[in-house]
Symmetry: C2
Subunit: 389 residues, 2 copies
């Protein structure tokens, strides 16, 4: 029962009796993600207290289960969609189009048209061609321009895939105006898993320079989308959600003033600790007589839900029925015949020596970016099952 | 129309008028893999001619579409399954259990029991615990022991995830006997995408030493499973299927003699060139005024079918409506909001300067390891569609 002591000694709402009961006692025929929406709601409230008057748009891609969407909607949360599929999902939950943004900078023109017809008015763009598509399929829409920022030391710095360089912002805003669109502001992404609020400062300063330059040039900017990057807990210390968000907002207001509407797109931080995967050990073995480490094969791997172990980026916490007993180093791998389906090899994981096939393993912090990464049926294994409680 | 001139000037059966017609003229609402089973059948016949009296078990995981399974079954092919799901798929096609092997070394005990009850008698193992599971759930089964071999220079050398060291083979065979199982032989994997037959020689020599040592120790070995590794065409020269297979078989017989039954598990080589994906350009952009390369975003990426671009390992061939026009270097990326969803960045791909959103792109050599790697709905995008012709 490792409670999370953060830098400010705030304890995250990590364990719930309801979740524990299901994880320990339910029968599962295959790897199953169990998500407690009460934890999701608690996460939202904590973040919202810190963010104050900012509009929160949950990044649906983190976990699009309809019950999670419905619960966040009931809590007053807005939504950011990456695709037509996510928009349809939100609309099916009764969410009003004005509370949905279409934040993917890479959109199919007919999906923009679908969103426009559904009543969505806020779109992201980072390129000329994207603005042309939006102007054609969603005339008059509000657009924000996504900018590239320099890496800040986040656990997962973003590549240059999204955003444009600073010098392109004003030409794109001018093009938007010329095309009859409304360029309302800027967005950026500070980097996934930015574990401390102070890590935002350089990024915010970069964006503030671009913002004020555009305002000085006569553009009427009213919306700053600060994106995501709020961390989930994976074993390394993180700031608590409320003080973290409050700190970020204080920095934002100091740099951008009181006027702009602020919008945030948390995903991972709202759902990661709300879910755990119940999995099973399939095999424990040693490859040779002299190997010091064992290989532990689970019934879940990189292609059935744990995609974020790629490059050993996200290090999940594991619990076994033998915790507390003597441990030894293990390489963890998935069940498929794919040799890259290995979870942790460079940094072997200490696991009990008595671990054996058939043991249930609980993998913590799996509420975000697991179920939808799951393949449709790689090696004939069914997708990760999801049970929302 | 780049025909494939191999080292021996054998032209692979790469293009078919049927496939071309569908790729160029059909309407697709989303990225779609089109597979021509006539090419699959041709591939099988060519490989079989080279392999002679070896038993061919198609590695179902390469592409488990029921029509591919049915066609290969009609051609006289056997099947190797990685899971209960793949076994059920084969049985549903009327394939006899004796023509199905359960070749995953990591099996759930109740899946072994299912296979045993279905009549399957041949199983892979590389560890003590696996033999105990097989003995418990499939008493009396035939087992072959998978051994680890040293890398041979294959495009994708396998890790140590599968197999055991040489010194463990005889103890495992003895354990199998003690448990009432029938240890019939050995298996190994030469490495994915072993492009030339001569690259098999070192590996076969290693395995032959292990084989003869076991025979000398009194084990009655009758089955050598040479696994997969037969290459598909991805732009780099490969040997033609028939001479390649004949060369490998000649090496095998020289080292192992005429008696052992030989079994092979081709996957990729039977289906890769039989399929192509019809995709669409969503956006072409430059990130800054000084960038020499463009970013080209497709409606398909690493999480919707092109997983084997991880680490830029498999380099697919692309065709566009503007081929022949002036080109420039492009970074290729998928449509999701995930920054790792980038296909080719280290080695940018030359693509026509006139390429634009809405253009259809044909991605060649996609028959293997695409559709099943596809996620169930990452970012709200549906899985790769498959159309078998």
């Amino acid at each position: 029962m490792a409670l999370i002591h953060t830098a400010r000694d705030v304890v995250a709402p990590d364990y719930s009796p309801k979740l524990e009961t299901v994880l320990q006692t339910a029968e599962f025929d295959r790897p199953t993600l169990v998500v407690d929406t009460d934890i999701v709601a608690e996460n939202f409230r904590a973040l919202k207290r810190g963010l104050g008057d900012a509009a929160v748009h949950y990044a649906v891609k983190a976990n699009p289960h309809p019950e999670i969407i419905a619960r966040l909607h009931a809590e007053g949360c807005g939504f950011d969609a990456a695709s037509r599929g996510e928009i349809e999902l939100c609309l099916a939950q009764g969410i009003r189009p004005r509370n949905i943004s279409f934040g993917n900078t890479i959109k199919r023109e007919r999906d923009i048209a679908f969103a426009h017809q559904a009543g969505i008015t806020l779109f992201a763009a980072d390129a000329e061609e994207e603005l042309h598509k939006i102007a054609g399929a969603a005339p008059g829409a509000r657009v924000y321009i996504r900018v590239i920022v320099e890496p800040n030391g986040a656990d997962w710095p973003l590549t240059r895939k999204f955003g444009c360089a600073a010098e392109r912002v004003q030409p794109l805003m001018q093009l938007a105006l010329d095309l009859g669109l409304e360029p309302v502001g800027l967005s950026f992404h500070v980097g996934s898993q930015t574990r401390y609020a102070h890590m935002w400062s350089d990024t915010l300063a970069q964006v503030a320079r671009i913002w004020h330059d555009a305002c000085d040039a006569g553009f009427d900017l009213t919306l700053l989308n600060i994106g995501g990057g709020f961390p989930g807990y994976y074993g390394d210390e993180i700031d608590g959600a409320e003080p973290y968000a409050a700190d970020v907002m204080a920095q934002v207001r100091a740099l951008f003033g009181p006027e702009p509407q602020i919008m945030a797109e948390p995903g991972r931080s709202l759902v990661a600790n709300a879910g755990a995967i119940a999995a099973e050990v399939l095999l424990v073995s040693r490859k040779s007589d002299t190997d010091l480490h064992r290989w532990v094969y689970l019934d879940i791997g990189r292609f059935s839900g744990l995609a974020e172990t790629e490059g050993e980026a996200i290090r999940y916490q594991f619990e076994t029925p033998h915790d507390g007993e003597e441990t030894g180093p293990c390489i963890l791998a998935g069940p498929s015949c794919d040799s890259v389906d290995v979870l942790y090899e460079k940094r072997p994981m200490p696991l009990p020596l008595s671990l054996a096939a058939g043991d249930r393993v609980i993998i913590r912090g799996c509420g975000a970016y697991t179920s939808t990464y799951s393949s449709v049926g790689f090696n004939g294994f069914p997708p990760l099952d999801v049970r929302v409680i």
